[in-house]
Point group: C2
Chain length 304, copies 2
Amino acid sequence: MERLETRELSYFVTVAEELHFGRAAQRLRMAQPPLSRAIRQLERRIGVTLLDRTSRRVSLTPAGRVLLEEGRHVLDAVAAAERRTRRAASPEPAIVLAMKSGGDGGLLPGILAAYAEDPVAVAVDVVFANGQRAAMVRDGRADVAILHCPPDEPTGLDCEELTVEGQVALLPASHPLAARETLRVADLAGEVQPRWPSDRTDPAGPPGESDPSARTGLTTSSDPSVPPAGPVVSDGIQLMQLVALGRVVAVVPESVRGHIRHDIACVPVVDAPPVRVLIARSEQSSSNAIAALLRVAAMVAERH
Amino acid sequence: MERLETRELSYFVTVAEELHFGRAAQRLRMAQPPLSRAIRQLERRIGVTLLDRTSRRVSLTPAGRVLLEEGRHVLDAVAAAERRTRRAASPEPAIVLAMKSGGDGGLLPGILAAYAEDPVAVAVDVVFANGQRAAMVRDGRADVAILHCPPDEPTGLDCEELTVEGQVALLPASHPLAARETLRVADLAGEVQPRWPSDRTDPAGPPGESDPSARTGLTTSSDPSVPPAGPVVSDGIQLMQLVALGRVVAVVPESVRGHIRHDIACVPVVDAPPVRVLIARSEQSSSNAIAALLRVAAMVAERH
DNA sequence: GTCGTTCCATACCCGCAGGGTATCGGTTGT
DNA sequence: ACAACCGATACCCTGCGGGTATGGAACGAC
């Protein structure tokens, strides 16, 4: 009995995501027949049917769904192994911390200062990433990340809760609601909300690769109750500009109050779900430098 | 740039464990030259030196140590992917729970009974394993395991603490210390303690493969301060027999008091480190059947 | 020093697995 | 009924993964 190879897993994951051999082969930069054959071999080897194919549509069996999930995990682990090994070979090792700009609940300066005192501390590279932070930890692009729990999905990560924050609405100072003491989510119904770039899907793929949603030709506005999707913003400055111009209204964790422009009003949204600010790392990684950072972070967060 | 294959990783992990190309090749059932070549290719591909070789000895670089750890994790994940997929394809899915016999702190019956009430419950297969329980969860042979924290190493697992137990010494009724109310670890110095089979290394390997320690010819009694290693016991019955015969004295969690023979005395060891009883699962595995089991277990443990 | 042993690297060869092109055949929408 | 779509099959070929033979450096014995 042979062992599963990562190439086969990556083939299967791609097909399972596309549910279409032709497109999957395209994404994998190969022809469709060898791909079909490889998947068949995979199925025979583990003795399980993973896909139900008619010549018209492809769908996952229950076993296929679990292999999709497990396979993604394997591929992340492989990517992480490679990246972490490369970084371990660099002359001066460092920890990579991923966060959304302004998304640290104001805790990061204190954490870094306290960590620098630690005997096992090493340099900390802070990188800013909008979506993808959890994925970055999973596949080794980052060692730790600061996540906001409702949007982010910390499955498979080793997390520590730092704070729980309420949310506030950012409004142009001239907005009718700007004078209110508090708001409720219902008050903001119909307002245009900004979107951050693709938190869900992996925007990687080789250049010249088209967006999957663009491929279908229509903008997948499946749910008409959602207001017309707002403009895509990729950093806090852009967001502030759009708010100031009255183009969007944003709901963000209250700690961003610290760095907003004076022409923007900031009103608590009392019934918005509270946001848990987490610090997460990969579940293995027995590095004590990283463990120390987590420990210090928890202590700093403890005493507000 | 090509992707890392699991075959290469398994080659590297084997070499890194043996620190000897010849023996590694033997374990991998292949000749030594292709193995050397494969490792070189691996190093060139990721652009990092993993091993320092003189023609006399092989040693790991820091990067090599990282890849050894990450590689093991990948191989576990691959094995888990295959096994979980196979089990998902079985007509009637079940959860596999691994435990040491008598190692459940007396909680398991209650947990299983409560779990059976849960709406999403599925069948639970209980398997007994002496060492290896953590590894079984990591590589998919089990879905959850009951661990005893000091000996077991829950790195990379998602754990829930069920209880903390003190430890007791099992002595033959005729033993001079059997009448004591309490003991200290020092009192047991010099007593012969039983050993459980290979908690550390993987005893797998194809039949006809010799034990690595046997290969060196000597019994690796590197630390002479440890009393002459006791007999290996592989289940609780054997242990009880050996204790009753006065051949060994065992120190075990206090919950085993429930099922000892009448000719064995049981005395608390007050300064033995307390044992944390954990229930652990793999860090991903978003299966809600498993999540429910963990939840129920925590509740049952809560109310003693 | 020299010889023998050990052990990793190099040189060279071979078979098959993995990838490509051409084409078939079943399903579906018009 | 026909065209379009899409996965499966048939067939070829290159390159990679594996084998054997041998080189060459490092140590130990004497």
